[in-house]
C-alpha cells in the first residue's frame, strides 16, 4: 500500500500518521496542499490538526484546496481515502462522507482516551480486527459531535456504513461513553464502496509500546495488508 499524507497549513498530526503507517509497513510520503498529482498512490490520508486555523468551520477552507480536488478524483477512481479528526471534518465538508461534525455537546475540547467498537470488518481498514472488537483510542477535538438527519443515519446503519461507535470498555454504546454527543454514538463512517473512511479519534497515536499501547495498530496493519 503506497500512502500519501496531505499536509495543510495548521495540520499537526501528519508525522504521527507517518509513524503509524511505517510501523505497519505502508510506505507514506507527504503531499503538500498545492500538489495535484497523486499518481502512484493507493491511499490518501488526511490527518488531524487545525487546517487553516479552523476558520469559518472546521475543514471548510481545506475542502476548497487544489489537492482535495485531486483527492475527490482519486476516490472517484476507487482509491482509498482515510480522514482522521480534522481529516474527517474535511471529508464531510466536501460531501465525500455524509453529515457534519458539530461542536462537542459539552462545548469542551475533549482530550482523553475513548473506546471504539468495530462495527464492520472491511478489507481495507479493519481486517485485522474481529467483528465487534473494542479498542482504546485517544481523542482530541473540539468539534467531534457527529450529526446527520435521521434519514441519513438510518441509511448509514441500514447499509452497514457505520465503522466505529463510542462504547464503554465493555463494548456498550452508552450515553456516558459518547463524550462529544455524536448521533447514535457514531465515531466513524464509510463511503458506500467502503474505501473512504472518516473517524474522529486517533488510532495512529497508539501503535507502539512507547506510546502507551498498540491498541490502534490493527487498523494500520489492515491498511498495509490491503491492496
Amino acid at each position: 500500500m503506497r500512502a500519501g499524507i496531505v499536509v495543510f497549513p495548521g495540520i499537526n498530526r501528519e508525522r504521527d500518521m507517518a509513524i503509524a503507517l511505517e510501523i505497519s509497513g505502508a510506505k507514506p510520503r507527504m503531499i503538500w496542499h498545492r500538489e495535484t498529482d497523486l499518481s502512484g498512490l493507493d491511499l490518501i490520508v488526511i490527518p488531524g490538526g487545525f487546517s487553516y486555523g479552523d476558520y469559518l468551520r472546521c475543514g471548510a477552507m481545506a475542502a476548497q484546496s487544489p489537492v482535495m480536488r485531486a483527492v475527490r478524483e482519486h476516490a472517484a477512481r476507487g482509491g482509498y481515502v482515510l480522514g482522521v479528526c480534522n481529516g474527517f471534518q474535511i471529508l464531510t465538508e466536501m460531501g465525500m462522507l455524509p453529515g457534519v461534525l458539530l461542536r462537542n455537546a459539552s462545548l469542551r475540547f475533549l482530550s482523553m482516551d475513548c473506546y471504539l467498537r468495530v462495527e464492520r470488518v472491511t478489507p481495507a481498514y479493519t481486517s485485522k480486527f474481529a467483528q465487534g472488537a473494542v479498542f482504546r483510542a485517544p481523542m482530541a477535538h473540539g468539534d467531534g459531535n457527529y450529526f446527520a438527519n435521521d434519514a441519513t443515519l438510518d441509511r448509514l446503519e441500514g447499509e452497514g456504513l457505520v465503522a466505529f461507535r463510542y462504547v464503554t470498555p465493555h463494548g456498550e454504546p452508552t450515553l456516558a461513553a459518547n463524550r462529544n454527543g455524536s448521533a447514535r454514538n457514531i465515531a466513524g463512517i464509510y463511503s458506500e464502496n467502503l474505501r473512504v473512511l472518516g473517524l474522529m479519534p486517533h488510532p495512529e497515536d497508539l501503535v507502539d509500546k512507547l506510546m502507551g499501547g498498540t491498541d490502534g495498530k490493527p487498523l494500520f496493519d489492515s491498511i498495509a495488508a490491503a491492496a
Binding site: R57, G99, V100
Partner: protein, 79 residues
C-alpha cells in the same frame, strides 16, 4: 454593493453555544431570556452594482462555502 450574509444553524440542530450564552444570561439575572441561537455574519464588498445580481452572487457563495447546508441556513441582504 455590500452584501451581508447571516448564517444560522437550522431549527432542530443543537446549538450548544447558544445554550451556553442563554445560561450565562440567566446567571447574570436576565430571567426573561428564552431560547438563544448563535450564528455568524459575513460582510462582502462586491464590485457588482446591480442589487439583484449582487444578491445572486452572495447566495451562490453562501451555498458553496459560507454556509454548510447540512446544518445551516442563510439570508442575504444587499445595500
Amino acid at each position: 454593493m455590500k452584501a451581508t450574509v447571516t448564517v444560522m444553524l437550522k431549527p432542530g440542530v443543537l446549538d450548544p453555544q447558544g445554550k451556553a450564552i442563554g445560561q450565562a444570561l440567566h446567571g447574570l439575572g436576565f430571567a426573561g431570556v428564552g431560547e438563544v441561537r448563535a450564528g455568524k455574519i459575513i460582510e462582502l464588498e462586491l464590485t457588482e452594482s446591480d442589487p439583484a445580481a449582487a444578491r445572486a452572487q452572495a447566495e451562490d457563495m453562501a451555498r458553496k462555502l459560507l454556509a454548510n447546508m447540512v446544518i445551516e441556513s442563510f439570508r442575504v441582504e444587499v445595500a
